[in-house]
Every structure is written in C-alpha cells, then in structure tokens.
C-alpha cells in the first residue's frame, strides 16, 4: 500500500478551488428556484382548496420517498426526451448544470414547502385578522405582518434544508458535471487512482467548512432577524 501523503491534501486544494463556484452555483440556483416552487407548494398547502392541498401534499410525500440520485437520473435521461416530444424543444445540448438544478429544485421545493408551511402556521391567525381589520389588504397583511415573523421561525429549518441540499448536490458528478467532486475524481484519474484518500479528505474538509459556514450564517441571520423581539 502506498504511504499516506498529507502534503497532497494541501497541494490538491488549488486544483479544486476553481470548481467551488460550480458547486455554489448549483446551490444558489436551486435555492432561488426551489424557494419559488416551495412557496407555491406551501401556499397550496395552506390554502383552503382541498384539491390543491392534496396535490401539494402528494408531491411532497412522493419526493420524500425518492432517492436524489434516482430523480437525477430520471431528469437527466427523461427531460430532454420529454421536451423534444411534447414541446418540440431540443435541450440535449444544454449544460449538465441545468439538469442538476432542475432535479434539486424539485427536491428542495418539497422540503422547503414544509418549512414554510409550518412557519406560516406557527404565526397566530389573529395577527393576520388584526392587520386586515385595520384596513390592510390581505396581501399587505401577509407581506408586512405575517411574513417577517414567519421568516424568523423558518430560518433554522431553512438552514438545515440548505445544508442537506449542499450535501445532496455532491451527487451531480454522477451525470458528469465537473463540480468539486467531479474535479476530485478527475484529479484521481490523472494520478491513475493514486492519492484517492488525500483528494477525498481535501474535499471532505471543504464540504465541512461549507456546511459549518452555512450553519453559522443562518445563526447570525436568525439573531439579526429576531432583534425586534427584544425591543418589544
């Protein structure tokens, strides 16, 4: 067995770092689109219409039972075919990051919709009623009164979802996206399989820093957003 070479962990970092932005782009894109879809789902769940509600609940349940990698493969192989035959649009040449973001948007939306729904329900109904009774429109009441309070409630769980997303996002390399792990695999292949452990350790530390960073920033955000509670 080849001896362990700790120096390589440091040497490999400059080769990995340029691909950090790919991983972060996946996460950022997914958070953006996933939150939009998640918001719609949460809205459907909180709305009184039973049809929309059960549809949103069924969606969340199904996605929760789906391994991310299976959904990733279904989207990667199925979406181009689907778009070609239904919309007559050829998306075969699209960048792989597109399929990755679509997949994780679908996954992230399900978990985030639950976060948003529970946060929305945690806010007392009287807040909304009071706001409407003093003359705010329902949208204003939601936007200015309910949402700021629900955001504080949702933040810790939202942070957890983001961390999960970041970890699941590492699967993107299985369809050939060159992100952090994809580049790591390439580096290992360039060395004919040597330095595998060192490269993976370097990747693990990067992911560890990322997740800890996200955790800390959400703690900070939560703190900043709950300032008004102390003032009251």
């Amino acid at each position: 067995m080849r001896p362990f070479n700790p120096q390589f962990i440091l040497d490999v970092l400059p080769n990995l770092l340029p691909f950090l932005w790919v991983t972060l782009a996946v996460v950022a894109g997914t958070i953006f689109f996933g939150s939009l879809l998640g918001f719609l789902l949460a809205w459907a769940k909180a709305s009184g219409q039973p049809r929309w509600r059960s549809l949103a609940n069924a969606y969340t349940y199904t996605i929760r039972c789906t391994p991310p990698i299976v959904l990733l493969f279904i989207i990667f192989y199925g979406l181009p075919k689907f778009c070609l035959e239904v919309f007559a649009v050829n998306i075969n040449s699209y960048d792989k990051i597109f399929f990755v973001i679509v997949t994780f948007t679908l996954l992230f939306a399900a978990s985030v919709s639950e976060v948003m729904r529970s946060a929305y329900e945690a806010i007392d109904r009287g807040q909304y009623e009071a706001a409407v009774s003093i003359g705010l429109t329902p949208w204003q009441a939601f936007y200015h009164i309910v949402m700021p309070q629900a955001t504080v409630v949702a933040l810790p769980n939202f942070g957890n979802s983001v961390i999960n997303l970041m970890k699941e996002g590492s699967l993107a390399y299985t369809i050939g996206l060159v992100d952090l792990i994809g580049q790591g695999q390439l580096i290992i292949a360039q060395h004919y399989g040597a330095f595998a452990l060192e490269t993976y350790l370097a990747l693990a530390f990067m992911y560890l820093l990322l997740t800890l960073g996200v955790e800390q920033s959400f703690l900070r955000l939560e703190h900043a957003f709950s300032q008004h509670k102390k003032a009251a």
């Binding site: 067995m1 199904t62 929760r64 039972c65 789906t66 391994p67 991310p68 990698i69 299976v70 959904l71 493969f73 279904i74 192989y77 199925g78 075919k81 689907f82 035959e85 239904v86 970041m166 970890k167 699941e168 996002g169 590492s170 699967l171 390399y173 792990i181 290992i188 595998a196 452990l197 993976y200 350790l201 990747l203 693990a204 992911y207 560890l208 997740t211 800890l212």
Partner: protein, 236 residues
C-alpha cells in the same frame, strides 16, 4: 413520448427482486449502528472531556460531509488497507474477493451511528434527570434503570426521528451501486444499459422506492401508536 412498456414491466420485477438487498443493507446497518449510537450517546451525556469531544467531532464530520464522499473515501481506502493488514500478518486471504456489501454495511453503519447518536442524545436529554436518580435510589442498577425506566420513555420521543433516519438510510442505499453492490439502482442500471432504456428503468426504481419507504413509514406509525400508548392514557 414513447415508453417501452414491456421493458418497464419486465424491469419492474427485476427491481422488485432486488428490494431484499436494499432492505438487507438497511437492516444490518441499523442493527450495527443502534448499539454503537446508544453507547456514543450515553458517553456524550456523561462527564469526561476528551471522549466527548472526539465523539462530537466524529458526528460533525459525518453530518457535515456528503454521504457520497464517505462512500468514495471508505471504498477507495478500506479494501487495500485490509489487504495490507492481511499480508502483514501473512494470512492467505484475498480481500478483493469479499462481497462488496461488506463495505456498504461499514459505510452506512458508521454514517447512521452518528445520526442516531444525536437522536438518542436528545431523546435521553428530554427525560428528566430525576428519573434516573429516582431509579438508582430505589435500588435499580444503572443498566436496569436504563432498560426499564429511561429507554421506554426515550424511545417514544425518538421514534419519529428514527423513522426519518431509516427512510433516509433506505434512500441512501441507492448509492451502494458505487461500491458495485447489486441493489435496486444497480440492477436497473444494468438492465437499462442493453437498450438505453434508462428512463423506464429509473421510473421502476422510483416506484419501488416509494413503495418501500411508504411501507417503512406505515410500520413506524404503527409502532409509534403502539409504544406511545401509555402517553395517550396519561393525557386522558
């Protein structure tokens, strides 16, 4: 969209035949991880600085890194490491002939142990400290106190989280194909590669996972109602 329904159906039976493999990995990993996690949780609740820090570092590492990375790491190192150990002792064992499911057990047990440890810790922490003190005062040994007083109460608190972890573990086993284990995903992948019927094959896997996960959640709901009975009586 032209879907090969014949293939869809044929592969579905193939995938269903691989369900025992997925359950096998899940159950064995849980059986290894549970006692380990419980021990880790108890140690973390006890005073004693260094061991506690070590465990919390381990938990942070497992929770902070993707499971793919853990799989890749262990699968890239462990076989050759075991091989060199065997050679060092002069044993005539070919490690590379071993069933790769062994490495799946190891990865998923180590991963689940860290997650379960947190669940057990918070569940044990939710039980009032007086319960343990009272049972010790009443003359129970520490083991008896845990067995008869603390664990039954903690289990009810922990069950929903254990259910979550089990479902996540089942979903996680879909990555076992990276270690050449022939689970549902691997079977579908091989079947699909002959005629490039990937969509159909993965649809099958998707449906199979939904069925398996639903069954597990149903089972846990049943268990929760059963074990949590004493709570309901108290509420009445």
């Amino acid at each position: 969209m032209d879907i090969n329904y014949q293939f869809l159906l044929k592969t579905f039976y193939l995938v269903l035949a691989a369900v025992p493999m997925t359950l096998n990995i899940t159950v064995v990993s849980l059986l290894i991880a549970t006692p380990l996690a419980f021990y880790l949780a108890v140690v973390r609740l006890r005073p004693g600085k260094y061991l506690r820090r070590l465990i919390s570092a381990y938990v942070t590492f497992v929770r902070g890194t993707p499971i793919v990375l853990q799989i890749l790491m262990i699968y890239s190192v462990l076989p050759s490491f075991l091989n060199s150990i065997c050679k060092g002792f002069g044993w005539e064992i070919n490690v590379f002939d071993w069933n790769p499911i062994l490495y799946a057990y190891i990865v998923f047990s180590l991963n689940t142990a860290a997650l379960l440890c947190e669940v057990f810790r918070s569940a044990l922490g939710s039980i009032d400290k007086g319960q343990l003190e009272a049972s010790l005062c009443a003359g129970l040994t520490s083991w008896q106190a845990y067995r008869h007083i603390l664990i039954p109460q903690a289990l009810v608190v922990a069950l929903p989280n254990i259910c979550n972890i089990t479902v996540n573990l089942i979903k996680g086993t879909s990555l076992a194909f990276l270690m050449t284990v022939k689970d549902m995903t691997a079977v579908a992948k091989v079947a699909a590669s002959y005629g490039y019927n990937y969509i159909e094959a993965y649809m099958d896997v998707f449906v199979a996972y939904v069925i398996v996960c639903s069954a597990v959640q149903f089972f846990f709901n049943f268990a929760e109602n059963h074990i949590g009975k004493f709570r309901l009586i108290k509420q009445k």
